[in-house]
């Protein structure tokens, strides 16, 4: 299942001009606030009609301005999860959940209510009304409602932006479960690098209305040239498998054969995880350091050094565990004589990796 999007639209300060594909899994539109991401999703939903464009969902043409095709939002077979939830205040949670199901065409593959309630932990909330729910609970219901509409495409516009950190941490796993249990493409808008790192199968980086890069998450996030939300948010994603949990509260993982030690992760041995390693938490050394407190040392070859506007530079290193990004000062890069092709050691403190940066793979 595939979503093809191509559109051009005047948006006040700049012109939106994008073209990308979203396969199964979560495709994140990643960019700063105001870069046009919400407009793109609204165009896919039919809530915004672009000046020019063509949108095809799984071989159904939803929009083709050249051919004069414009399918109305209610016929696009979508499920849209909004930032503010937008639950219907006069209906119970159960009725909200069932709303989309009522309008789905007869032959559509329907999700099972019990399954969705289970997936999102909504059992206790079914007879309540939205006014009696917390922010996090509302978003979970919003996810369930979108799912139960038997959509061919799920849209999510910064669904976690209105929640505090604790709620975000609570809800993010539900999106991971969503990604892992449905086969329809999920188009997800976000400006948070850690959300992207955890959820994205595919990343489409957007800046000022243009696509800067698109591709598998690890690739795009590991590309030092692509920093839509700035250098501070740079960080690559590693795929690791849980090996064992140690008695002293650490877990041992293996990423491409390289051992990683992290504070205890909430996963069973054998589970696959994504680990986001923030670039500013990575120290580089020309020789393998000894006597350091840091537990994780990944050796690799420098792929690219990209100076930034200020005193910093991002170094991209290819290791057996995957691409790692490190943010250093240009002075240090020069002092160490870093150059492309060199062997270098990346040091990562175990405790530097936040639990929010660890997600199901």
């Amino acid at each position: 299942m595939m979503l093809d999007v191509s559109l051009r639209h005047r948006l006040g300060a700049f012109t939106l001009d994008v073209q990308f594909r979203a396969p199964s899994g979560v495709t994140v539109l990643f960019g700063r606030s105001g870069s046009g991401k919400t407009s793109i999703v609204n165009a896919v939903a039919g809530l915004l009609i672009p000046d020019e464009g063509r949108i095809v969902s799984d071989e159904r043409v939803l929009l083709d301005t050249a051919a004069g095709v414009r399918v109305k939002p209610h016929r696009r077979r979508l499920g849209y999860i909004f930032q503010e939830g937008r639950l219907f205040p006069h209906l119970t949670v159960r009725q909200n959940l069932g709303y989309g199901a009522w309008f789905a065409p007869k032959g559509a593959a329907r999700a099972d209510l019990a399954q969705v309630v289970d997936l999102l932990g909504l059992g206790a909330l079914l007879e309540r009304r939205p006014a009696a729910l917390s922010g996090g609970e509302k978003q979970r219901v919003a996810i369930g409602r979108a799912l139960l509409a038997a959509p061919q495409l799920i849209l999510a516009d910064e669904p976690l932006a209105a929640l505090d950190e604790a709620r975000k941490a609570e809800i993010l796993p539900y999106f991971e479960r969503l990604r892992d249990s449905v086969s329809v493409p999920i188009l997800y808008v976000s400006h948070s690098a850690s959300e992207v790192a955890r959820l994205a199968t595919t990343v489409v980086a957007i800046e000022a209305g243009r696509v800067m890069a698109q591709g598998p998450a690890a690739e795009v996030l590991g590309n030092p040239a692509v920093l839509p939300t700035g250098a501070r948010e740079a960080g690559a994603v590693l795929l690791a498998r849980v090996v064992a949990h140690h008695a002293d509260g650490l877990s041992e993982l293996s990423a491409g054969g390289i051992p990683l030690l992290l504070p205890r992760v909430a996963a069973h041995p054998g589970a696959s995880l994504r680990i986001r390693v923030a670039a500013h938490d990575v120290i580089l050394a020309r020789t393998r350091p000894e006597g350091l407190s840091a537990l994780n040392i990944l050796s690799g070859i420098i792929h690219e050094i990209r100076p930034g506007g200020g005193p910093g530079a991002i170094v991209a290193i290819d290791t057996a565990a995957g691409r790692v990004l490190s943010r250093v000062t240009r002075r240090s890069a020069a002092a160490l004589g870093l150059a492309v092709g060199q062997e270098v050691h990346a040091v990562v403190k175990a405790v530097a990796v936040a639990t929010t940066d660890i997600g199901a793979a």
Binding site: A45, P89, H90, Y99, F103, R128, A131
Partner: protein
């Protein structure tokens, strides 16, 4: 109890209730449709429509009555059409009184419902559309339940106005006991007759009691609806 008012006066009460009821029943769909068009519609002439709806509020009731006479009387273009194709006549009949009451009360219904519709977050309507609801279904399942308080307010105002309408009624359908002599017209007649003040006062008291009951009922209904939406 029955000799508290004379038979003619009880006739006036029954007629008033009938007139007010029908004025309200017809104004509900018309008023809701107009309110929706004015609140959510984007079409040329919308401003003009808004002015037209408010005319009965601004024009002297006698003028409105006279215009109704010209348009809906037996010789009027619309009145003639209704009579020949639907067998429905307004001139000098209670139907005309109901029409006059309805027209005079329409601005109240439209205003109340329109304010309610504008208070409904359009983003909720958008959300409903993305879940598969066509514009009509969005209205029926999302907008309408949320505007019920406004509809109730408009209904009470329409009913009260229908019970109290005078100028347009007497100018359009005159004062005919049993057909068009509603409570206000009966009271007017009694006031203009020497010695009729006592009976006029009794009729007025009854009219106030009826309007107050309608208001109380609508307040109670409003509270119940608000409780449902509020999360009880």
């Amino acid at each position: 109890m029955t000799d508290w008012l004379s038979p003619a006066e009880w006739d006036a009460v029954r007629l008033s209730l009938r007139v007010a009821l029908w004025a309200t029943l017809i104004n509900l769909p018309v008023g809701i449709a107009l309110a929706y068009a004015l609140a959510r519609g984007r079409f040329p002439g919308r401003g003009l429509l808004n002015v037209a709806v408010h005319l009965p509020l601004i024009m002297p009731p006698v003028v409105t009555g006279y215009l109704l006479l010209l348009g809906f009387g037996a010789r009027g273009p619309i009145g003639g059409f209704f009579e020949s194709s639907l067998g429905l006549s307004f001139a000098f009949r209670w139907t005309g009184a109901a029409l006059a009451a309805g027209v005079m009360a329409l601005p109240f219904m439209v205003r109340a419902v329109r304010l309610s519709i504008e208070a409904v977050d359009p983003r909720l309507e958008q959300a409903a559309a993305t879940l598969g609801a066509s514009r009509l279904w969005v209205f029926l399942t999302v907008t309408f339940p949320l505007i019920i308080p406004g509809i109730l307010a408009g209904t009470v105002l329409t009913f009260a106005k229908g019970m109290g309408e005078f100028g347009a009624t007497i100018t359009f359908v005159s004062n005919i006991p049993g057909q068009t002599q509603t409570i206000p017209l009966a009271i007017d007649l009694l006031l203009e007759t020497p010695g009729g003040e006592g009976r006029a006062a009794r009729l007025a008291a009854l009219s106030i009691a009826l309007a107050a009951s309608a208001l109380a009922l609508s307040e109670w209904l409003s509270r119940r609806v608000a409780a449902r939406v509020g999360g009880q």
